[in-house]
């Protein structure tokens, strides 16, 4: 039972991580930048979601606010800052990094250093399953389902739609894609904003799974996101999923069975991947 319970917990954690890292991976593949501001979308969406949910008393309104706010933040960053540095990858990365300082400190200013707890869950999701002596929250189950559905959708979009093939082609050979008359700029904005919304979704639905949010959450989840794309490989849904689930389930299992390993699980896997399979589990090209 403890095994099943840990796996399920790990799956729900892994799904949150998948949503977090998906945007990072797409943006890396398409625009060639490591979006160091990605964790900020996660964090700010979580904060805004919690506050709106508390004000309106509705989990769902909070969710909507989280999605909209993270999308807007992504749009502002892309249009306002990154666009003007077109194709200057290092500059774009460092601008994002500057934003980490600014937005983290603004959050500290606005919300204080103490963790904000998760909003009250709607009654549909608040029960739990009994697995032997463990209680598995329905909510976590819902997170797994939502994550799996979105993952399926993304995989379908990547492999079976025109947009997906444009995105894949854009990662491999942007020159040719542009020569075919496709406006990659629009695709980039779309991918950036979409990735931000996914991060916002992860931030909001992830609070009950991962725990309260503090102003340094942005940085810590950024590290998780980067660990995932290193482990899974960049630019594919499969890779991101593999990395996220490996980290999620692995951390959860090591927590249950051999806790000293838990703290060190992610760096260890990352190191092994860097040594034996640089490029990640699913290596494009």
């Amino acid at each position: 039972m403890i095994f099943l319970f840990s796996v399920l917990c790990g799956l729900s954690y892994g799904m949150v991580l998948f949503l977090l890292a998906a945007g990072l991976s797409i943006v890396f593949g398409l625009m060639g930048i490591v979006n160091l501001a990605h964790g900020l979308m996660y964090m700010s969406a979580a904060y805004i979601g919690i506050i709106v949910a508390k004000l309106t008393g509705s989990f769902w309104v909070g969710l909507l606010a989280a999605l909209v706010s993270s999308g807007l933040l992504g749009l502002i960053i892309e249009r306002g800052l990154l666009r003007t540095l077109y194709r200057e990858q290092l500059s774009q990365i460092l601008v994002c990094f500057g934003l980490v300082y600014i937005i983290t400190n603004l959050h500290l200013w606005a919300y204080g250093p103490y963790p904000k707890a998760a909003p009250v869950l709607p009654s549909v999701l608040s029960g739990s399953l009994t697995l032997g002596q463990f209680e598995f929250m329905h909510y976590r189950l819902a997170v797994i389902v939502v994550g799996a559905l979105l993952c399926g959708f993304l995989f379908w979009a990547q492999e079976r739609t025109k947009l997906g093939s444009i995105v894949r082609a854009g990662m491999d050979d942007p020159e040719t894609v542009r020569a075919l008359g496709i406006n990659l700029m629009t695709i980039n904005i779309g991918a950036f904003v979409f990735g931000s919304v996914l991060a916002g979704l992860a931030g909001y639905i992830g609070i009950p799974v991962i725990g309260g949010v503090v102003p340094t959450t942005g940085e810590s989840v950024l590290f998780l996101g980067i660990a995932i794309i290193i482990i899974g490989g960049v630019g594919s849904v499969q890779g991101t999923l593999a990395g996220a689930l490996l980290i999620g389930v692995g951390s959860s299992l090591s927590q249950s069975f051999y806790s000293p390993l838990a703290k060190f699980f992610i760096p260890l896997i990352m190191l092994l991947i860097l040594i034996f399979r640089p490029g990640g589990l699913v290596y494009r090209k």
Partner: protein
């Protein structure tokens, strides 16, 4: 003709040299009359300047975007702190050798894992390894004292019964940093340094000319690791100790921005960038200490948008203009 050109170049550099000598004179004469906090700021400028100059060797000259240099810096600093804390080793020379050796070993690991990849992947790898160092420092609480860090708060014991005072430490750091800067600068002007630039610009051509490009990058990274490690060793004394964030991504990013602010590929630019950033930090922190990160972020972004060429080349050019010579490069 040649002589005239040399004369012109000499005159072009005159004002810059005069400025440098003035600053040096100030740094030599003033410390005994300065307050402890000002001396601390000056030492911080020098130590981070050294780390930034070392980063410039791989970042500016070899085209390697290392986002994990703070990790190497941290390895050097932590080695010193751990030896002091657990083994009560206080002799500066022993500690310095241990710290630098550890940093070079760390740099070798970073480089051997990272150099298999190029560009962004190199950056990701070094980022991950740097964070790994910070994570280790946070996690192994019994050894590293976790997030509290280790604070030996000591002055260097140079052996023969000599322990430096606060001002003495400043002069010591000044001399070490200037000598290191000169060595780094000479390296970039050596055949090895030019070959680094050539392989950053056109790898295929450099390889066709018979250079072992991979080995040269590796060596450049080790040299950089040596000086970053040295900066880490000095940091333990100037800062009083170290805690995990000093080895993490915030510091790595800071070093990168110092190089860009000062001027990529100029070596001395790192020192200029460090001076500007730390002085800004000092003055803004007097007014609103809690909001410094916001200013830091703004400086980051402004640097990227408006000062990408770096301040050092601009200062050098302005000096030339001021004495009536045109906007000559070099």
């Amino acid at each position: 003709m040649h002589r005239m050109l040399t004369m012109k170049l000499l005159k072009n550099r005159l004002l810059l040299h005069a400025l440098t000598i003035l600053i040096l004179l100030f740094l030599i004469v003033a410390p005994p009359f300065l307050g402890k906090d000002i001396i601390n700021i000056l030492m911080k400028i020098l130590v981070f300047g050294l780390a930034a100059m070392a980063l410039d060797l791989v970042f500016g000259y070899s085209g390697l975007w290392s986002f994990g240099h703070a990790g190497i810096f941290g390895v050097g600093a932590y080695t010193v702190c751990l030896l002091m804390w657990h083994f009560s080793v206080y002799n500066f020379w022993l500690l310095a050798i241990a710290g630098i050796v550890a940093a070079v070993v760390a740099a070798a690991i970073f480089a051997s894992l990272g150099l298999r990849m190029r560009g962004l992947y190199f950056m990701l790898t070094t980022f991950a390894l740097g964070e790994l160092v910070a994570a280790m420092a946070r996690t192994f609480r019994k050894i590293t004292n976790g997030t509290d860090g280790i604070w030996p708060m000591r002055y260097p014991d140079l052996g023969f019964g000599i322990t430096l005072s606060h001002t003495g430490l400043f002069y010591f750091v000044l001399v070490v940093v200037i000598i290191s800067g000169i060595i780094l600068f000479r390296i970039t002007k050596s055949p090895f340094g030019y070959s680094l630039q050539s392989l950053a610009e056109n790898e295929v051509r450099a390889r066709t000319l018979g250079y072992n490009t991979q080995l040269r990058r590796f060596i450049a990274f080790l040299i950089s690791g040596f000086f970053v490690g040295l900066a880490g060793v000095l940091y333990v004394y100037t800062n009083g100790g170290i805690n995990p964030p000093d080895a993490g991504m915030a510091t790595s990013g800071l070093l990168m921005i110092l190089v860009i602010l000062g001027g990529v590929g100029t070596i001395w630019g790192g020192l200029v960038g460090s001076a500007v950033m730390n002085l800004l930090n000092y003055f803004i922190s007097i007014i609103i200490p809690a909001r410094w990160p916001i200013f830091l972020g703004v400086v980051f972004i402004l640097t990227i948008f408006f000062a990408r060429g770096g301040l050092y080349p601009r200062i050098a050019n302005a000096c030339k203009k001021a004495i009536g010579y045109g906007n000559t490069e070099g």
